[in-house]
Amino acid sequence: MNDYVDITEDFFSSISQISNNRVVKSPFFDLLEGTRAIEINNPRLDTGLIPNELSAAELNFECSKPISESELSGLMNKLFKLLMSWFSSSSLPLTVLSCRYVEDIVHGYTMSLDRGIETFSLGDGVYNRVLKSFVVGLSKFIGIMITVGNTVLYEDEDITTRNMELDFLTDIMVDDVLNDLESAIGLVKRSAAQHKEHIIKQLMLLQDLNSLPILSNLQINLFGVPDLRQLQSFQDILNRGIECLKFIADHKQFYETQELPVGSVSKWVQASLGNRHIPGDVYDIGFDETFKQMTNVFEQLKQIFRKTNYIKDIEALDLFLKYDIQHMVNEYHVINKGIFQLFLIREDQSILGSVYHLSDLTLDLMNHVNVFNCNVSNPKTWNLNNADTELVMDALSQLLKDLEAGVYQNLTVYANNRCRQRQLINKNLLVWDSLQVQSENFEMEIYNNYKIGDKLSDTDENALPISSFIYSTKLELMIEFLLIGIELELYREFEIYSIYWYINYLTKVYINHSTERLLKFNKYKISKIVAKKKKSKNKQELEQKREKLTKINEALQHKIDYWKGFQRLINSVCLLLNYLQNQKMIKFDDLTANFITSFESLFRLRFKPFESIGVPSQLTFAQYSSSFASDVSQDEVINSLNMAKEALVEYNKSVTNDNEKQWISSLVKTCFSYILELKGGKNVFEVSPGYNTYFPKFTAKLPVIE
């Protein structure tokens, strides 16, 4: 302490000069930063107090001390539980790193220069050696998931990756880990252990866990014949994992009664390593939850992987992403959300690792709506000189590149948590709206300057095919944006009608656009081909085009059929709520009477995301206010619901995707339940969860009509 001067008195006497009750700080320091500080001696903020509460066994714990067979199995069981607890909104220091063996391995690896897998050790005993392999395997898996998290998940929402500056075996190869676990299995087999099978199942399960991320490198033969060998070999890994999990779950009694070395799981790590975070208790979700969730991970991946192998065309891909991923995402484990996102779109922009890339997807999406066989997308039909061709080509390529970016943005939505999905869609609305403006300018310009373009019909104006495709995508985003808000319970009673009323408008615009701009345009193209075919020598090529356009329109019509049924249901909800208001069951205006802001202001705030969008034109509060009909009858509501129900039942007959089928069934049930509710509910207006996340239950008892 020679170089130090005691300034205790100097300092604290200088503090008394502070007047006005204000802090003294450097002008460059923002006090906002200070809100993140930990605090000495505050038991909720100071990890430095932890050593005081630790036992001698925790303080003096030795990782190299020989462990017993029972302790080996007990530790592996505990580590599985801590691993799954980490994924359950906890952090590494409160879960896996609380195990002294994990801390020892990972800390040792972080500090050492020689980083080969053979350098790890947790003591010489045979069970210590097996434990070492397990801990290395577990740490590697954690390391992989940290990377997945940092790449495609949201920190503190889906996963918490803060790692106390530790390196979770970045440079160790997964194959080395798998082999090391294999040697450990051999070691167990040759040992004198009493319960070899129980231990080996745990080791095998960890191998299988480490194999899961392989999925994000597998290459799917998208829209083609599935690679059955690959499908089988990945299914084998998953099935073996599921078998191990079943064995472990069936032997809960055994695993849960094995011993843990005293002091091996502890808050120690929070106080021993660098730590800018607040203290917390070790978190453990328990045996049942752990193995239930882990089984889900394997089962879900099995489903997802099998389904992706059998996606037969672009329509099926769209349905898969929507119904098997986006709508199901709440049920997917975070491990799968992360792995799936990486599986779906790769660094080289290939889709599901196939030869099919983002650029192909973008073109296909357009073609399968209305752009197939258009003048604008087909330079061979342009009839321009070279210089002009190049000019138009450049502009077209730029537009396509920007479109690809938009499609990419949409692809990032599906596997995110529902809250993020809504926020990302909100962002993408801007992207697609400006794409539409850009595309309209482009299509108008090349039509005016070079006469490149397509007519919608013999008498109609420019079809603007690319812009029409973009508009259609944008409308879907707008509708979905409002609908997710219902699921997230963002809307309160007073505004719920306005939301359905707005969705009703958008779905009508969408259906009209699909029928009048897309379907009609394709039909017109078909009629032109038929006319041309009569005179042409190249009948076969034209016939192929005709067939393709016919197929496209069949798929479009199918989609429109869904939207028509859906719109009828939306319209019924509007009628229902309108009717309830007429019956004085609810008075939407009254609910806002005591607000210090107006309903109109809230209406504008609610639809702010659409505020900058030119088409479709934004609905105003005045339109909302005059949207109520004074003469809605109960029969009218019931009829409308019945019609919606029938349309949806009819549509569902031609649905093949299981999850879509279920979705439609839940809409049908919704129609039924609304009808029942109308015939005898409670005497208050209530909104509660219903059969479908987009359609809550509205409870209200209506006066009997004599």
Binding site: V23, G34, E489, L490, K608, S612
Partner: protein
């Protein structure tokens, strides 16, 4: 900070309202006693752990947006702490940071009164475009309070509180700027720090 100690304060600085035997006062920026009482009251009743520098952040920067409620025995029974910031450089956003009422004084309209005082002051002094706050989706009491004033749920934030519960972001729109998307608003000048 010492969490025991009295909640009594006899300073009559900045009385803004009296309702029954309850007095509503502005926080006195020069009062160490009030600072101590406020931080203790909040630490006793809020679940998120705060260091003393959280209180300094709010009370040194925006002392004008802190109000307290006292009972007839000069005991501080309620407090609200808020701030103002420039949201993405385009909107002046008031933010209600913390609101705590002593449990035995709840359901007496104190919270609502404190929020209203804050909103009025923010509109008057800083011409805020909107006022926001976050609250847990399961905090029915807070939702009822703010929504009865007209705050609207604009966003659901996934696992927001200590990474377990979702939260709602609530917004009360004040000016027309609240209705325009960020990308379409012109930049506002940095506010002069008070």
């Amino acid at each position: 900070m010492d969490s025991s100690g009295s909640f009594k304060d006899t300073d009559d600085y900045g009385l803004v309202a009296t309702v029954g035997n309850l007095r509503y006062q502005r926080f006195n920026p020069a009062s160490q006693n009030q600072f101590r009482i406020i931080s203790n009251l909040i630490a006793d009743h809020l679940s998120e752990p705060y260091s003393i520098y959280v209180y300094w952040y709010f009370l040194n920067t925006w002392p004008q947006y802190c109000y307290i409620t006292k009972d007839s025995a000069d005991t501080v029974v309620g407090v609200i702490i808020s701030k103002i910031n420039l949201h993405r450089n385009v909107r002046t956003r008031g933010y209600i940071g913390m609101l705590v009422i002593d449990p035995i004084y709840r359901k007496k309209g104190i919270a609502k009164k404190l929020v209203q005082l804050t909103i009025d002051a923010m509109i008057e002094a800083d011409h805020v475009d909107e006022i926001s706050l976050e609250t847990e989706v399961i905090n029915k009491g807070a939702l009822r309070l703010y929504e009865s004033l007209g705050f609207m749920r604009v966003k659901r934030l996934y696992k927001y509180y200590l990474s377990t519960h979702d939260a709602f972001r609530l917004i009360l729109p004040v000016s027309d700027r609240a209705f325009k998307r960020i990308a379409f608003l012109d930049q506002l000048p940095e506010p002069v720090s008070t």
